[in-house]
Amino acid sequence: MTATTHRWAAWLRTPGGILVLGLLILFLNGLLTAALAHGVADGDKGYIQETSGFLFWPFLYLGAKHMVTGYDHLLFLLGVIFFLYRMKDISIYVTLFAIGHSSTLLLGVLTDVSVSSYLVDAIIGLSVVYKALDNMGAYQRWFGFQPNTKAATLVFGLFHGFGLATKLQDFNMSPDGLIGNLLAFNIGVEIGQLLALGAILIVMGFWRKTSSFWRHAYTANVVVMTLGFILAGYQLVGFFVA
């Protein structure tokens, strides 16, 4: 066993390694189910196509589910809070992200703006790459200055919201009760985000306490960046192939 593989094995045993591995599994699962999805609508989409009228709790649930199982949003969130440990900072950044994605989610669906979901999702993948490089200090090293991290979180939040909006538009929601259902979905997205954030923070909390955190922080961000590139590539190819 070489020293490199040994270091990787050690890294995989840290809480951070487990977290990234978990997200990786979720990510692959997401890619596979997307690839297998067929034309006949069942599951959430089938349910939405079959219902009409204001359904607060079901749409709240769907919003939360979308966030908790949305590996792209979770990866970005992980990147954003990777080096944040004060609750005050975490809430500022998460609020900025929420403001960003809520506004474009509501605006996108209500104005029925149709953007290619592939392009939006590719940008979301790149937002993960951006944040990972940001964490690694790449911009300071390359360009000698630090781009505003709060502004980046807000701006990328806007793109994540467009991503959510294209998914909802694809669901063919009934115009009957649309605004109420949309708001319920949005509230659900925020609740789901808080639940996911809670879980991520606990794992990161354990990891941050070990000395391995600073040793493996760089590698972890490289892994996150890799996943971001895969996401972006997958969506870009989809844009040209599909």
């Binding site: 034309g39 006949v40 609508a41 069942d42 599951g43 959430d44 089938g46 349910y47 196509q49 079959e50 219902t51 009409s52 009228g53 359904l55 607060f56 709790w57 079901p58 649930y61 589910k65 990777f82 080096f83 440990y85 004060r86 940001d134 964490n135 690694m136 200090g137 911009y139 300071q140 630090q146 991290t149 063919n172 009934s174 009957d176 639940l195 809670g198 879980a199 606990i202 909390g205 354990f206 941050r208 306490k209 600073w214 922080a217 760089y218």
Partner: protein, 205 residues
């Protein structure tokens, strides 16, 4: 090296606090799993909370749609299953009232609780059909839509009604029609009257 402030160990939560948080997370997750996720995904609702929130219906519908999709996949599309079984008794006895390509049909079908059915008309692009459908029981879910090879779904409108009267204008050459789902809990009979330019009435589901 990083874009980060290195925290002092006193600034990090204690192990005890982290363990407590983990415990709380497990409790919250279990509670949500039982009261929200199981009802909404599988229609399994041991606490009745899901029914209260309307989530159990979601799970029930999902399970049913999944079962229907599976059944459909299993029956390897046997050549057109005698559509005449349920459909198309030309109205008022007068055999096909084909005046200048305009015809009239009355189609009657019965839906058991939770059953779905779909009637499609074969139409040319721009063709018009005046239609009326009524449910003998309560309001049923409907989805008026079209498809053609390459376009699996084109929606005209959907909702929950007992009677709908309107005109269907074909957006493209293909199949255009109605899907109904009976969620009333009682069997209902749906009567569809169509008058216009179409070549065939077929039952798809």
């Amino acid at each position: 090296m990083f874009n980060a402030n290195k925290p002092d160990s006193s600034e990090l939560p204690s192990t005890g606090r982290l363990l407590k948080s983990t415990g709380i997370a497990v409790v919250i997750a279990s509670a949500l799993l039982v009261t929200v996720v199981l009802p909404a995904e599988y229609g399994v609702d041991p606490t009745r909370a899901g029914s209260l929130l309307g989530l159990t219906e979601m799970g029930r519908i999902k399970m049913q749609l999944a079962a229907e999709a599976k059944a459909e996949e299993a029956s390897v599309q046997p050549a057109p299953v005698a559509p005449a079984a349920v459909v198309a008794a030309p109205a008022a006895g007068v055999a096909s009232e084909t005046v200048l390509g305009v015809r009239t049909d009355e189609t009657v079908l019965t839906l058991a609780p939770d059953q779905g059915a779909e009637i499609k008309l074969v139409m040319e692009e721009g063709a018009r059909v005046a239609f009326t459908w009524t449910s003998s029981g309560g309001a049923v879910n409907f989805d008026t839509h079209a498809d053609r090879p390459g376009t699996p779904y084109h929606g005209y409108g959907k909702g929950t009604e007992q009677r709908v009267e309107g005109e269907l204008v074909a957006a493209f050459t293909g199949s255009h029609g109605w899907f109904w789902r009976n969620r009333t809990g009682e069997p209902v009979t749906i009567t569809l009257r169509t008058t216009g330019a179409y070549s065939e009435v077929k039952r798809v589901v």
